[in-house]
């Protein structure tokens, strides 16, 4: 294992975050705070409690997940697309490193950034609503697993994307509907039966439900099922990336 390589990739990626602090950290925090003000405080005060939890608190785990997903996908995809775009990828490809080092470096940094932003949002949320965490260990597990999984997913998009349009296609067009319809702002019990069934095909439902359960012990699906689904998606991403690197897909051909 080439630890020096992991160290330099990780620190170079984190240095990029420091250079773009406004865009990477401040902007997602501001936009999430706006959600809290509008949905949590303004509209939320007129909505009944869900499962004994005030609406403002109910949407907090979902909002954190929404930001975490978006941030991790964008960090993960940009981290590898940028060197591909500028051509500096030659250096990574010709270095004595394997997929493992590349992933720990790039995806590790992307996930770290996502986790930092997620933590700041969680801290911000406490200014607006009362938050209690019933299962801190499970909460951290869901938090970290989701960050890593979606940073990997972003990395895959970065390898696949041919241009900036493709790079933004999935984060802009696919992720928002999945998160909004994944029960971030409501419990799927509120949906007609047909749409409840459809919701179960949405991977984000399992993330939000499991994450919310770790806070309030209320869930749309069994938290263990959530855990299995997230781990399964992680495994799929890893396997796909291993295939991409073995065949040199879009990188070495």
């Amino acid at each position: 294992m080439n630890f020096e390589a992991i160290k330099v990739i990780y620190s170079a990626e984190m240095a990029r975050t420091r250079r773009t602090l406004l865009q990477s950290v401040v902007s997602p925090v501001i936009s999430t705070s706006l959600y809290f003000i509008v949905f949590g405080t303004a509209i939320g005060s007129r909505i009944d409690d869900i499962g004994g939890v005030s609406y403002g608190a109910f949407i907090t785990p979902g909002l954190i997940m929404l930001t975490l997903l978006t941030q991790c996908i964008s960090n993960g995809s940009f981290g590898i697309y940028f060197p591909k775009f500028t051509g500096t990828i030659y250096e990574v490809l010709s270095a004595p490193i394997a997929l493992t080092e590349i992933l720990i470096g790039y995806v590790g940094a992307a996930a770290t950034k996502g986790l930092i932003v997620g933590t700041i949002i969680l801290a911000t949320a406490t200014f607006f609503v009362d938050i209690s965490i019933a299962h801190p260990f499970m909460m951290i597990l869901f938090f970290v697993l989701t960050a890593v999984t979606f940073s990997l997913f972003g990395f895959m998009i970065g390898v696949w994307a041919r241009d900036f349009e493709q790079l933004n296609l999935i984060p802009m067009l696919v992720v928002p509907p999945l998160t909004f319809l994944g029960g971030s702002f409501y419990s799927i019990d509120m949906l007609p039966p047909f749409w409840q069934t459809v919701s179960h095909f949405n991977p984000v439902l399992y993330l939000v439900s499991g994450f919310r359960w770790s806070f309030f012990q209320i869930a749309d699906v069994n938290p263990m099922v959530s855990l299995v689904m997230v781990s399964g998606f992680l495994a799929v991403c890893l396997a796909t990336l291993a295939w991409m690197f073995r065949t040199g897909y879009k990188l070495k051909n």
């Binding site: 490809l93 010709s94 040199g248």
Partner: protein, 307 residues
């Protein structure tokens, strides 16, 4: 001693069907400077990219110091340095950081003293805190060289290193190349500037259309393929080449006042014979000159034949 790079039947067909390499065989000796010549699109960069691990080969095998570049990539890639043709840099990174990054990427522990030495050698020390986007093209090229040297490779690939660089940088670069050669580093460079190859290379390889047309010791190549010409300016025009000289294959020009004699570069004694026979035939000349074909002429002739 076994060659440091051994390439066997190497082929590459890109996804769009383009055959960039059609079975290349090449041994690169330890410590030599090998110049690869060839027109644009000949396959030079593809060849280098496969050895460095940037492009997957379609067939064949490349061994670096006895290790397969695909299976034992960790060993081979830690021996190889690459200065790419394109000026590809992270525009928002400083010179110091980007060079340090390259060193770490190749698994070397940080060594600020060594990096300072390289930056000074390439006249980059004053620019160490500048961002890449603030540098001129020539400076960026220097940084790319510094990046490749940062991890002390044993084999260095220079892909068109002097494309678009000024005289000073060329001089600095050849100084570095000399130092590396003295330290036993094997250097492979591709170039369009044939005089450059003629000047610094030990051996010359010519690639065209994905095939290696030849690899030869530079001096042998010059001797073998190099032609010399003896040009005689005649004192008086003549109508035809005298029959007594017909066997020499002399050429008379349009104004009938110049004779040109073609001969092999390694048959220098031929001139004396020609001159004495001309005197016998009563042809006088007022001036004479000889001209040797350059590597460029050889290259053009070789590539032209295949085209």
């Amino acid at each position: 001693m076994a060659p440091i790079v051994s390439i066997r039947d190497l082929t590459k067909t890109y996804a769009n069907g383009f055959k960039a390499l059609k079975g290349v065989n090449l041994d690169i000796e330890r410590g030599e400077i090998l110049a690869l010549l060839g027109p644009n699109g000949a396959g030079k960069t593809t060849l280098i990219s496969i050895v460095c691990g940037i492009v997957n080969p379609s067939g064949g095998e490349v061994l670096v110091d006895g290790h397969d570049v695909v299976k034992d990539f960790r060993v081979t890639r830690s021996l190889i340095g690459l200065v790419p043709q394109e000026l590809t840099t992270d525009q928002f990174e400083t010179v110091w950081n980007t060079v340090r990054f390259s060193r770490g990427l190749h698994g070397c522990k940080p060594d600020p003293v060594y990096i300072e030495k390289i930056l000074r050698e390439l006249s980059l020390w004053d620019k160490r805190d500048n961002m890449m986007r603030q540098l001129s093209g020539g400076m960026k090229r220097r940084v790319l060289i510094a990046k490749a040297l940062a991890y002390e490779p044993r084999i260095l690939f220079l892909d068109e290193p002097t494309a678009g660089v000024d005289v000073n940088l060329r001089k600095d670069m050849w100084k570095v190349v000399e130092r590396l050669r003295a330290a036993g580093v094997t250097i492979i460079l591709t170039t369009h500037y044939i005089e450059e190859a003629e000047e610094i290379a030990d051996r010359v390889g010519v690639i065209n259309g994905g095939e290696l047309l030849l690899v030869e010791d530079k001096n042998t190549l010059m001797k073998k393929l190099g032609r010399k010409q003896l040009i005689l300016e005649l004192a008086e025009p003549i109508d035809t080449v005298p029959t007594g000289l017909a066997d020499l294959g002399l050429e008379l020009n349009g104004s009938r006042n110049r004779l040109v004699y073609d001969y092999d570069a390694d048959k220098e004694h031929a001139i004396a014979a020609v001159l004495s026979r001309m005197v016998k035939e009563g042809i006088h000349f007022r001036d004479l000159s000889t001209r040797q074909s350059s590597l460029e002429d050889i290259f053009v002739a070789l590539v032209g034949e295949k085209a």
